[in-house]
Assembly symmetry: C2
């Protein structure tokens, strides 16, 4: 084969891998929404089987032959092909070190553990989940050992897996900068005389009304329901096979309208990203979001920077009142804006305000460090968790369901994932600052022209998928890499205004 | 490899094929329930891809090597392994004749056509579906040509595909026997003085109540919801990956409680079959229902022989009234029984009474014969369809949605499938007659001991899956093969009594 033919075969081969991943993605969505509980083991077995198929394709002799044959020609590739090559090579190198049976075991365990986690949380029974968590961590450590990168600490490797280029050193610096800003800010807020009226936030809103509002707001901000679907699950998530099929889930609670509303805003941010990847790369490996951090920047942008802004509510509040006649009749837009931004120590990460949210992440980051660097016992987690909540937020969860069992992530082996959430919030502030240079964002929101905002994000971020690494992408679109200053400034400005703080 | 090792490898290889089929089954369920419309093409492509993967596995050199190596030893196999070998061999022989690109094309076309059919039916637009139907038939004919079995007529081949051993000769005899019984019976019913009170059948029943009843009745008759799920779709169906995950769908209409009720009874019959296949063969190729006809015998048993019997309603009617207070307050169990059995010419097959149902099937059978033996134009179908309804049932559909577009089957290339429905009804009567020899069925229904009925069916039919051919299974469990007399007697007795006919 000449180079052109090899490239063609290489692309087709990667397309096949993508096809498997797409199928696995839809099967996973099915598993977390409607699949019967009695099929858990059987589906876990299937997930293990397909993980292994993909693993085999990713690490095959055929893959190696493509990578070797094309290595001398990478410089001549266009950016997309360079991205495909980069991802295939990294995947090959990471995975060839891990025996196939370990991969299958991990696939099966993750599927099973995710189902058990759902039950354990519903039953507030940490001991039910603990043995699975223990096995997940042990298996993860075994995988790290096989990778043999002894110069790196185990947790550094995991951090890098979820965000290319990240490690404890970078996160420590970022989190220290955050703490230095947030801790005094929180103290000022606590000491301020500003009283936020939140009496109405638990007004009952019927489930059907909530569903209708989810659909409407999702559509308005740019989520295309012809290529999407809003389902329900224990923990909200976004699931995209490819740009033509990007689903989100939420959970509805009559007495907690804000919870589902902002879950939907958040997941829509992820979904809008995936839906606006370029058609050209839809069925390629690069055809999904650049990284966890960049992905989270989009969800945080829609949830917080847009969805919790004063301008947004000045415009959208009247609309909400039309959809929910009488519910918030005696509440003004400004009161509403203040209520959705109240700063308050709380137990549930996904329902935390923007400011204390970062503390939830820092707690998880520190616990993961302990799990992977210090070998602490899984059964000590509830106590450690509760102690940290006491230390950082001054509150102690009364149940494990609202404590250590609240997040799905560990149940599918996602250790090192949480820090990308805080990173994403910071990226969101950085991107929003650049957006303001190009667009009159306030005016667009006032005109309800959310399409213009979506299109700008599409041009700067979405279209490229994984073509570039996070740093390359930021550099290309904004001329600079990650910078936490924007986020610190954003938080300081927003909450100083909201709580009428004097500097 | 010695024989034992070859058998082991052969089983593992078939297990892999089964795994693909299970995944495809769940993906298909997803496609017909929640997947977004904009993903139709993309999902069609994926379905084509996986069809091709299974096709490649089924027709590979490795498969041929197993079949050849094991051929001299088949007599020494246990029944399950014999069944596995039989199915693998038939599949290999049928499919090696068809080029891979045709298989992929068919997979893609079926997925796309099924989605278009849904739209066409909703919009009552036959012309939208017609080009897909035309392509499906052309492709099907091409496939038949490739198979090269020139001694058989095309339609005979298709009939045999859906029911091992069936052809036009057998169906002609069966349908003639049916017609000879039904036509005079229908005339007597028409001429009888018996008036059935049906004023209450379109009483409004709220959708939530219907959903609750579906769940309750399904559970009562033996559908295990821990390994099942009741969803909604345009056309009700049963979808089983394996015995641990067997789902059904129905459609709800406030003004048509009976429609969803009997859809659920019907699909539960299919689901109970799949759920009660032996654990030992759950993940093997033989681990699903024996044939279309045998499968339909189980759905028809639960829907009609049980669910439309007088004893059933004498017992269950009080329960229904509790679940639907006031709705049927002035209706007696006997009136209810009569109403659900009213004989009346109607347009929609799935809502037809037991007696005229057979005419709906005979019409489709005759049209399929025309399509495959006479090359009629697809665009003539609405006219032909309507003429046959006039000829056989004395009524003419006013729209194509309630005429030629009503069934999903052709949209996924299932030509030759319909006759198995009538066959299934006849099998159901035959099996029920044998059940009465072993069990006091009336007493069991009166005691609401549906488990005993399910267990008997499990022992005689369900457990074996596809281990035996339909004829082998009937012979093994009942000492005789298909015999339509039972069905003719059942229909004659039931409707003579119901309509108080003198013989």
């Amino acid at each position: 084969m000449n180079v052109e033919e090899t490239v063609k075969a290489f692309k087709a081969y990667l397309g096949k891998i993508k096809m498997y991943r797409e199928a696995m993605s839809t099967l996973s969505f099915d598993g977390e929404t409607v699949a019967p509980i009695g099929s858990t083991k059987s589906r876990a077995k299937r997930a293990g089987f397909f993980s292994l198929e993909v693993f085999n394709l990713t690490t095959s002799d055929e893959m190696k032959a493509y990578l070797d044959a094309l290595a001398p020609h990478v410089d001549t590739f266009d950016d997309v092909l360079k991205g495909e090559y980069r991802l295939a090579k990294k995947s090959y190198e990471d995975k060839t070190k891990i025996p196939a049976d370990i991969v299958r075991e991990m696939g099966e365990l993750q599927e099973e553990a995710a189902a058990i986690w759902g039950q354990a949380r519903a039953e507030n029974d940490f001991d039910k989940f603990a043995p699975y968590l223990k096995r997940l961590i042990e298996l993860k450590k075994k995988v790290i050992e096989y990778r043999g990168e002894t110069s790196k600490k185990p947790y550094d490797l995991l951090l890098d897996d979820y965000e290319d280029g990240m490690n404890m050193e970078v996160y420590d610096a970022f989190f220290n900068q955050l703490k230095e800003a947030i801790v005094p800010l929180l103290k000022k807020i606590k000491d301020s005389n500003k009283k936020i009226d939140t009496r109405f936030v638990h007004e009952k809103v019927g489930l059907e009304a909530q569903k209708a509002i989810s659909k409407q707001i999702a559509t308005q901000i740019g989520y295309d329901l012809d290529r999407g679907y809003i389902a329900e699950s224990t923990h909200p998530f976004c699931n995209g096979s490819n740009k033509y099929d990007v689903r989100i889930t939420t959970r509805y609670d009559e007495a907690d309208f804000f919870s589902s509303f902002y879950s939907v805003m958040h997941e829509c941010g992820h979904a809008i990203y995936e839906q606006n990847i370029s058609d050209d790369i839809a069925h390629q490996i690069v055809g999904s979001g650049a990284s966890m951090g960049i992905h989270e920047s989009q969800s945080r942008f829609y949830e917080n920077i847009l969805g919790r802004s004063l301008t947004f509510w000045e415009v959208m509040y009247a609309e909400l009142q039309t959809l929910l006649p009488e519910t918030f009749d005696d509440v003004t837009a400004h009161q509403f804006y203040e209520a959705v931004n109240e700063v308050k120590a709380s137990f549930i990460r996904v329902e935390a305000d923007e400011l204390t949210y970062n503390l939830h992440i820092i707690i998880r980051y520190e616990i993961e460090r302990l799990l992977f660097n210090e070998d602490i016992d899984v059964y000590d987690l509830p106590a450690i968790w509760n102690q940290k909540y006491e230390d950082y937020l001054g509150i102690t969860p009364s149940t494990n369901a609202e404590g250590v069992l609240q997040d799905i992530h560990w149940s599918f082996g996602a250790f090192g994932y949480f820090p990308t959430y805080a990173l994403g919030s910071a990226y969101a502030a950085q991107i929003a600052a650049h957006m303001k240079k190009d667009l009159d964002v306030e005016a667009l929101i006032k005109a309800q022209d959310f399409a213009a905002i979506k299109n700008w994000l599409g041009e700067k971020i979405h279209q490229y998928g994984k073509t570039y690494t996070p740093n390359e992408l930021m550099k290309k679109s904004f001329g600079e890499t990650f910078n936490a200053d924007y986020y610190v400034n954003y938080l300081t400005d927003k909450y100083s205004n909201l709580y009428e703080l004097t500097s």
